[in-house]
Symmetry: C2
DNA sequence: CTGAAAGCGCTTACAG
DNA sequence: CTGAAAGCGCTTACAG
């Protein structure tokens, strides 16, 4: 492997100077810089990351952690899109990403890796869990980190999120104003902030229209397709005329349950989701839903994390990305 | 951060000895080992990865590379499952995984990172592309690597795969023997080995039954849902009575096109796929398909790569995992 | 603008 | 079984 040493020798300068050229230090004469750069190119030199990290105390690697209880959802298209956004930002800012998927037996190993062995300069926690043990450790440590999904209580924690409450409320309000009378919801899990917030939006929309929430019209799913299926089955006997499902993936399951009950969408029941996944527009009928910018969330999370790493004293960031309601044929204005 | 030095001081031994304990070197007395271990635990010591890598010339990190032309398929559930398998093996063998998604503008950066900066001990190329530029570079380099998807020509390249030819042939044979007469196929891309092999299996099944392939019954998709949709639309005018689709994701698209044509499955046309994705069993009707062990492929790839890293002189590995035909309601025996 | 030198936190022959 | 010492390939004050 080509080393700094070798470049220095061939360019007839010291290792210090080569290092400065490599790191774009301005105080190097143009002439010297050019000479070094030529040798670098000719020998196809790339600095050794481990050596660099050890000397500089910075690895230019960020960790992406998907906690164990979320891994069940990992095959949701949400994560690939998020990861692509993260990768994009990392490419732009010359960083790399280390991936940790939680596994039940290796939770401790992961936490200690993330926190203690100096591999990463910071971490993105794609969690949305309200009580994550890694998050607690991160808060206590000095390692910069950012959540994808807001933290409900600790204002010192940085995060990227959308306004789930307002978005859900807006969509349910649309259903109410479209004339639907018995609007049900399949909420997300109570231990995920997105689940809690979207349910809150649903409740707010109802109460602001003077509608008393009927507990028979509210059930909880786990954000999986099957969760939506089971949830919808439990709702059917209560005869809702519309249902707001807290994720598009669950909406697929709900749609299946509705079909099996022999109901038609939107004639017998309106269906609305949340996320606007790639498949949502191609559902039959196309799904009314809330579009959230997942790729952008990943990009922003990585970019902001890198800023936090660069300037550890900066304020925590709370970034709220915009959403948009996609009105499609699975709901229909009844007026 | 706690260092080796500090542990050594507190345990009243040399740094060498602490290092040996940390690395499970047998030639340390039980007594000393125990004393060191206690201090390690008490101070919550974790070796610095960069320092360790630099000294040992090994990082215990493997790279997972998804080439750019495959990233479009990254939201396919295939990849999350593969990644989970890789992660599992890495946890068991105390390795970590670095993720690179190809991006058009950063192809060169990625290749040089992967190859030259010493970050990873080896790489898994989840490519299936037959002409990948990174693969060429890897072959020329000394870095251990393994493909997910066989290499068609170079026997020195290690890979994990299933027997796509035999599996496809078996499924199409079943269709023939079920009495279907005009069996079409939506093949995968010509530059992916899985696409080529599955098409070959289709052709073999036909020819062994003395059926001359009708070029109107063969089209090519890109392994995406939309590819399956467009492909099926092009097939409809030729009135096939069965279609073998080279991936379950494409089969979803094909199903949509069939519905839109007003045909019923399997009454008017049988539909069969490849992969057995989580959703395939829940399709309406449930999809007949080839189950391939994706999680296991990831696991095996990582585990084998680690072996190749440990013993660089060992022979290349060609690992073929078993498949299983899942007979479901989207095809029906006509006899 | 440039170089000599110390140091980052480990591993690993070598000697005993 | 244990320790002293060299070395992995960089960065970064410090001095000039």
């Amino acid at each position: 492997m080509v080393t700094l040493e070798e470049i220095a020798k061939r360019a007839k300068v010291s290792r210090s100077t080569v290092s400065r050229v490599i790191n774009d230090d301005p105080k190097v004469s143009d002439e010297t810089r050019q000479r070094v750069l030529n040798v670098v190119k000719r020998l196809n030199y790339h600095p050794n990351v481990a050596a660099r990290s050890l000397a500089a105390g910075r690895t230019r690697i960020i960790g992406l952690v998907i906690p164990e209880r979320v891994v069940g959802l990992f095959s949701d298209p949400y994560f690939p899109i998020l990861i692509q956004g993260i990768t994009s930002a990392c490419n732009v800012h010359d960083h790399s990403v280390m991936l940790w998927l939680g596994e039940p037996d290796y939770e401790r190993r992961m936490i200690s890796q993330v926190l203690h062995n100096g591999l990463v300069d910071g971490v993105i926690l794609a969690s949305m869990l309200m009580d994550d043990s890694l998050m607690q450790s991160l808060i206590e440590s000095a390692l910069p980190f950012i959540l994808v999904g807001r933290h409900p209580t600790d204002a010192k924690v940085s995060y990227v999120d959308v306004d789930n409450v307002a978005s859900a409320k807006q969509l349910v309000t649309y259903l109410i104003e479209s004339g639907y009378q018995r609007i049900a919801t399949i909420a997300g899990p109570h231990n995920m902030i997105a689940g809690v917030d979207r349910l809150k939006g649903y409740e707010l929309a109802l109460s602001e229209h003077g509608i008393v929430a009927d507990s028979n019209l509210i059930c909880t799913g786990d954000f999986s397709e099957n969760g939506g299926y089971v949830g919808m089955q439990s709702l059917i006997p209560s005869k809702p005329d519309a249902v707001f499902v807290a994720s598009d993936t669950m909406a697929i399951g709900a749609m299946r349950a509705i079909r099996e009950a022999g109901w038609r969408i939107p004639h017998d029941i309106a269906l609305a989701g949340f996320d606007d996944m790639p498949f949502s527009e191609r559902m039959d009928p196309p799904l009314t839903t809330v579009r959230q910018p997942i790729h952008q969330a990943g990009y922003k999370a990585a970019e902001t994390l890198i800023e936090l790493i660069t300037d550890p004293l900066s304020r925590p960031r709370h970034i709220i990305l915009p959403t948009e309601i996609m009105y499609r044929a699975s709901t229909n204005s009844k007026t």
